[in-house]
């Protein structure tokens, strides 16, 4: 899987950077205008998944590491955030930070264990650890509410001032978190750190021979990815006022792989496009019963057969620009 990441030409040149700025501006305007046309809760869900997929893509697309356990960060942070908001009575920003912190902690431990191996073994170790978190969530009813999850999480008041039970306030917070997270990831990718990461992805022994401590870079990428996935999961818990087993189940880890592949692994905007498509499908097809999973499967098959670089990946190839 590691070499499925498209090898894009050279670091983003000035022209690419300009293109990215325009694309980002378009995205920001779309985020600001969309709630007038679409249902805000749906948009917030899409943004949470988009950030989750971007965080995942940071690891797979730029670090070449396929994690199959990202649900543990996403869902685990959701539980932490929900518990912090409901039981400890923290304000929403602190609850989200608590969730992200928990994800960072779990990410450091998992990362330390997992980065010692590559490819399928790396994926299996992350999956195994994620399953442990899942079964902890099933059993630890005092913390996670077992199979009922944590229900009725209060959204609270941001900084003790802004009441998030109002839709526009909540939407703005989610939009800021999503756009901020996206910019952070963009910065990481295009920093010297990001360049080293790409070097490791392309040829690890060469990076070692150049004197880079690759384990250190991989661990840092892993923890960053886990933390940002945690931010996404914690935000989602506040949006839906619910943290449940769905988010820590291994199918969630699979879903984020699907989103990233569909949008384009190793592209900047791909995960956002992928998340939008998958979340829209889940919402539109929920009346068709089994249709949801079948449609997702069909889309996945088409994607693998027809455009292996993903939607944005193919677009970027056609335009000969990195996106």
């Amino acid at each position: 899987m590691a070499n499925a990441a498209p090898t894009l030409a050279a670091p983003a040149g000035a022209a690419d950077a300009k293109l990215h700025r325009i694309a980002f501006a378009v995205m920001a305007v779309a985020v600001a205008l969309a709630p007038f046309a679409f249902y805000p809760v749906f948009l917030m869900k899409a943004m949470c998944f988009a950030l989750f997929a971007c965080a995942f893509n940071l690891l797979l697309g730029f670090g070449g590491l396929l994690s199959f356990g990202h649900a543990m960060f996403f869902g685990g942070a959701g539980y932490f955030c929900a518990h912090a908001a409901k039981v400890w009575g923290l304000t929403p920003e602190l609850a989200i930070l608590a969730g992200a912190g928990a994800a960072a902690l779990v990410g450091s431990v998992t990362g330390l264990l997992a980065i010692r191996r590559q490819g399928i073994y790396f994926a299996m170790i992350t999956l195994a650890l994620a399953q442990m978190i899942y079964f902890f969530a099933v059993q630890a009813q005092w913390f996670t509410g077992g199979e009922d999850g944590i229900q009725g999480v209060p959204r609270g008041k941001l900084f003790g001032l802004v009441d998030l039970s109002h839709m526009p306030a909540m939407y703005s917070v989610v939009a800021v978190i999503f756009l901020g997270g996206f910019l952070l990831i963009y910065r990481i990718i295009h920093s010297p750190f990001g360049q080293v990461l790409k070097a490791i992805r392309e040829h690890e022994p060469r990076a070692v021979s150049l004197g880079y401590d690759t384990d250190y870079y991989k661990l840092l990428a892993f923890v960053l990815s886990a933390t940002l996935a945690g931010v996404a999961g914690a935000t989602k818990a506040l949006v839906f006022q619910l943290a449940s087993l769905t988010d820590v189940h291994w199918t969630m880890s699979g879903e984020v792989v699907l989103i990233a592949l569909l949008g384009g692994v190793g592209t900047v905007f791909g995960p956002v496009v992928g998340a939008l498509i998958i979340v829209t499908m889940q919402d539109y097809f929920s009346q068709l019963g089994a249709g949801v999973t079948i449609a997702q499967g069909v889309v996945f098959v088409i994607c693998v057969l027809a455009f292996r670089r993903g939607i944005v990946g193919e677009l970027s190839r056609v335009l000969k620009r990195s996106l």
């Binding site: 679409f38 249902y39 809760v41 749906f42 869900k45 099933v138 059993q139 009813q141 077992g146 199979e147 009922d148 999850g149 229900q151 009725g152 989602k236 839906f240 006022q241 619910l242 449940s244 087993l245 769905t246 988010d247 829209t280 889940q282 919402d283 539109y284 929920s286 009346q287 068709l288 019963g289 089994a290 249709g291 949801v292 999973t293």
Partner: protein, 401 residues
């Protein structure tokens, strides 16, 4: 993001005059939120949609000049999906009441949303007795059955009919633990004895070692504190071990008639189950179930019967109030009026949101005793309505003063 629903059944009023303007959007909209694709689609699913349609027909909405629309969606047994659909339905699509809600996590999620938006949730599919306990709200009624009814009914009634010694095979998660705990309490209160229990991982496909321990315990009753595929797997493998032929009986704590149908009488015979509805109870249930069968090609489960009954009562309350906007008011009206329908007979809804009706302890027939398709149960005892459910004061519902 919903297209106008796929499963829309619109019952048009003969005259859409100003007289009906009190219904929000001029129409009473009922959303059936259920499992259309997964494990629980047999016990609820499409059958619940049909039950809702039948309730609207039987109520005679069209004749009374009330316009009722039904939409449905699949919550995939996920709490967050259920919560987002419910928000959307209440916020944007003008849904006034959500019914069915199979699996507890989805019901508890929608329970909160209904309260927040002051709409109506009528739960039939979910089991958790917390819905009328610590999580009760003025906007939810729990209709068909709950975990307390199952545990108590099965536990105490079996002891009274002679099953004194018990052994539990329990799914190792909160739901299984709760069932085991509640049933144990009921068994011991009735003078029975629990010899032991074993916990299996959830979900599990190989029950042989658990079954051997249960067999070796020599308990008269083996209680299955699990659900769905775990229960049916345990029963199937138990039949291979000859457990029922050896004189022991299985007691399923959460078994529906569709599970028995899937298992077949050969495997399921002797299984003891508590249910709040059986199609072959009396002339009225038989007549209704026959109509249901013609549409769905399966007999109704207690969940589907509950959906029918709850929608019927809801429409009666809305008719009386002539308004549907204020969810808490409609629920208060439903609590004020006694219930009466062909499936559960006369009953009432308590302050904590618990619908009260009798429950039945039934035993699955031997193949030789079954005279017709779906002739599966013989009634061992009827648990009267006032004993079938948890006493109102013990639930800890804040609405009960």
């Amino acid at each position: 993001m919903f297209k106008r629903s796929v499963f829309v059944a619109a019952y048009l009023a003969l005259s859409a005059g100003a007289a009906h303007a009190e219904f929000s959007g001029g129409v009473i909209k009922i959303g059936v939120l259920t499992d259309l694709s997964g494990t629980y689609s047999d016990i609820s699913g499409q059958g619940s949609v049909i039950a809702t349609q039948m309730a609207v027909e039987d109520f005679g909405a069209a004749k009374k000049g009330m316009k009722v629309e039904i939409i449905s969606a699949d919550h995939q047994n996920k709490g967050d999906v259920a919560s987002s659909i419910a928000r959307q339905w209440y916020d944007r699509d003008g849904v006034d009441a959500i019914v069915d809600l199979v699996t507890s996590s989805t019901a508890l999620a929608v329970n909160q949303v209904a309260k927040e938006k002051n709409k109506v949730a009528l739960v039939s599919g979910a089991a958790s007795s917390d819905l009328t306990g610590k999580d009760c709200t003025p906007n939810t009624i729990h209709w068909a059955y709950d975990t307390w009814m199952l545990a108590n009914g099965t536990g105490s009634a079996i002891v009274k009919t002679g099953g004194k010694t018990w052994y539990f095979i329990t799914a190792d998660y909160a739901f299984g633990h709760a069932l085991e705990r509640d049933t144990t309490a009921a068994v011991e209160k009735a003078g029975g004895k629990v010899l032991g229990s074993v916990r299996h991982p959830f979900p599990s496909s190989d029950f042989s070692s658990f079954l051997l321990q249960a067999q070796a315990s020599k308990a008269q009753i083996i209680g299955l504190a699990n659900a769905g595929a775990d229960t049916t797997n345990a029963i199937k493998q138990g039949a291979e071990f000859g457990i029922t032929r050896g004189g022991q009986n299985f007691a399923g704590l959460l078994v529906f008639i569709t599970d028995v149908h899937a298992l077949g009488l050969n495997t399921a015979q002797g299984l003891i189950v508590t249910t709040s509805f059986y199609w072959d109870l009396n002339d009225q249930t038989r007549a209704w179930s026959k109509r249901f069968f013609e549409k769905h090609k399966r007999m109704p489960t207690m969940v589907q019967a509950g959906v029918y009954s709850s929608v019927l009562h809801y429409l009666k309350a809305v008719e009386k109030l002539k308004a549907d906007q204020d969810g808490a008011k409609v629920i208060a009206q439903m609590k004020a009026m006694p219930t009466d329908d062909p499936l559960f007979g006369k009953g009432r809804v308590r302050q904590d949101g618990r619908k009260i009706h009798p429950a039945y302890l039934v035993e699955v027939k031997k193949p030789a005793e079954s005279k017709a398709p779906w002739d599966y149960y013989k009634i061992r005892t009827t648990i009267p309505a006032d004993q079938a459910f948890r006493p109102e004061k013990e639930g800890g519902c804040p609405l009960v003063k």
